[in-house]
Symmetry: D2
Subunit: 222 residues, 4 copies
Amino acid sequence: MAVELIDSMGNDDSVARSARVSSGTNGDEKQNRGLLNMLMRDRHGSPFESVVFQFRIECPIFVAREFFRHRIASYNEVSGRYKILEPTFYVPDPDRPLMQIGKPGAYRFEAGDDVQKAVTLRAHMRAAEVTWDYYETLLASGVARETARNVLPLSLYTSFFVTMNLRGLLNFLSLRWAHEDSKVPTFPLYEIEQVAKQMDSLARGICPVTFEHFDKHGRVAP
Amino acid sequence: MAVELIDSMGNDDSVARSARVSSGTNGDEKQNRGLLNMLMRDRHGSPFESVVFQFRIECPIFVAREFFRHRIASYNEVSGRYKILEPTFYVPDPDRPLMQIGKPGAYRFEAGDDVQKAVTLRAHMRAAEVTWDYYETLLASGVARETARNVLPLSLYTSFFVTMNLRGLLNFLSLRWAHEDSKVPTFPLYEIEQVAKQMDSLARGICPVTFEHFDKHGRVAP
Amino acid sequence: MAVELIDSMGNDDSVARSARVSSGTNGDEKQNRGLLNMLMRDRHGSPFESVVFQFRIECPIFVAREFFRHRIASYNEVSGRYKILEPTFYVPDPDRPLMQIGKPGAYRFEAGDDVQKAVTLRAHMRAAEVTWDYYETLLASGVARETARNVLPLSLYTSFFVTMNLRGLLNFLSLRWAHEDSKVPTFPLYEIEQVAKQMDSLARGICPVTFEHFDKHGRVAP
Amino acid sequence: MAVELIDSMGNDDSVARSARVSSGTNGDEKQNRGLLNMLMRDRHGSPFESVVFQFRIECPIFVAREFFRHRIASYNEVSGRYKILEPTFYVPDPDRPLMQIGKPGAYRFEAGDDVQKAVTLRAHMRAAEVTWDYYETLLASGVARETARNVLPLSLYTSFFVTMNLRGLLNFLSLRWAHEDSKVPTFPLYEIEQVAKQMDSLARGICPVTFEHFDKHGRVAP
């Protein structure tokens, strides 16, 4: 899972400037801190749309599938119709909890025993190898890329650009990271949480005051 | 590929009624026909947002991936995190062109020879069988559904509800069906075109005048 | 302020049906109640997008200006470019609090004394009369409608259709009605709150279970 | 009408970079020109969402009302609830055509004679003066700002920030400027066209190749 910040527009001051147009006031740095606190606390979201990020994400298709459900964002992705894909596949890392206990909406996860780890590793590796063989055979036979890729698994890596404003990003983070400060419970997929953590870290560097108040007020998107 | 119309709101008259609020006029059936013609021709899109459809779609994941790129729509999909999936896989039908000739943005397709057909069929069937075995083994070992499903291929069927207004639908159709009346060239994936044709047919039954003008004016979304 | 429900699609059952596609389960009426409770509590918003309403609203322009800031909705409005407008103006009703105390984001309101009531009434009525005279003079002189209407005040009534899904409506209501059950403080304009109350009442008749849980969980949009 | 470019992200190269992710190719400057030409011609819109602008606009309320109908954008505006407004009013400039001939959707405009010019000027100035007096009287009487502003006319200037991506901007321009290169007829309000021209000029400086192809292909938004 790789997340790269490609470009951005604006910062904490942009949020304050956009908010201040409504009342026609100005403020110094300390007053801007207070303003951002109030905006986050009382859920005044629109000023946070003045900051925009473009990220490049590399992740398995099953993660991208969840990511693209966030509709207030712009996407450009590798196309299996146009490009000969590369054999990069996801294999769960040792920290990935393998046991899912409970019912939808309230799962708990546990680590999994050695047998489960072994079978998981083996299934991921073998599914990748076998399906990649079929993919290459199809291409070698002159079959269209867009048909050949059908046999590839959801663990295949994909790559995309996403452009998202700060408000949309905070909403993404509120749902995709079960952070210790989260006030509303969320049960994100382990792998998308890895992506969310990196996005949080990169954006936090640009808007530190916004993220401080986001954490403080329970990581609910304004 | 199965498309079912689950519910809808409004029809051609709703479009006319919404459009007429701007000028405060009324019109009979014939005048409404003329009005819809003008709205389509001059690209006045907003009145077409007064009609809404909900469809249930069953299609392979690689089709759903394209479908979900349409952001002005609402989606609810089978979740591989919550549900034990069913072993229904896509296999290209005999009419599916298998050879892709030319370059991105201007591909031509040709049928493919008997060898290509055979290798395509075999690859799809074997990839399905092998990966499904791994999926079942993982589940039997107590591995979480959300991890087990990673090994399944893009040819696996998924199922979702989509709620979309008529304007969004016309945009979808303009891009996803290379119709003989299309004025702007488009190169849709064969399989999503099968979905688009069924959606067109179902919605056309509800808004025949809108679709008549859509065809007449080159299937460009208003 | 007049609010009319023109059309709608779906109800509480549609929400449950869309939510259940993710897990592939079915449920009876009692189980659907529990499901809707969980969706609202844990902020699973997308199933609520399966229900859609179209309203016709008549309200002053200063209210419409706030309303149209809700972007996930479809609008068609009377056009002062195309239509000769009608002389219907807003005059504050006796319950409209006239004094604004405190600072932005935390105003309190008080009723206002008799002098304030009289000056408010007179100003609204005289501004309407004087500007309407100019409007009619301009039209009589052959000046374009779209230029003549510039002189009319924000208290002039307008009329529009809005199509909005249930999730968007709940978000609207969470911001535009300072309801006694509201968990997040909001300071809506008195007049838009009158509109919100009517919309709540009309939609509640169609989705009673959704609204029951909306109230119970603090009227925070899912 | 004042338009200021406050901030931006990206340029023509960002569009090319986002588009190229789909095929995994690279290109030099000349190839990027060809790529942007193809994207515009064949209506591949999403790469143009990688460029974002923030503008500050000052315009009369009747212009802002049209502007805010563009929903894929972010807005922050002066609030008459929070701020004591300033007495800046629009008066039609001498080039503003005053006569509207024909029917909705196909108006022609003509200059207007001297009498029409005089009555238009007088009506705008007098409506501004009279209503401003009432506004000040209401404030002086302690009436809330949000109620006092109701009496002000649509010709009052407002001020707002808008954040919009390049694709949204091109759509705005296709509808709000009846440019000589426009392939689809449009009948924008004279005053919003003045705003559109300034936005076009500012954004064109950042994405010259995009705008060259936009003009060449008939100013239809991709």
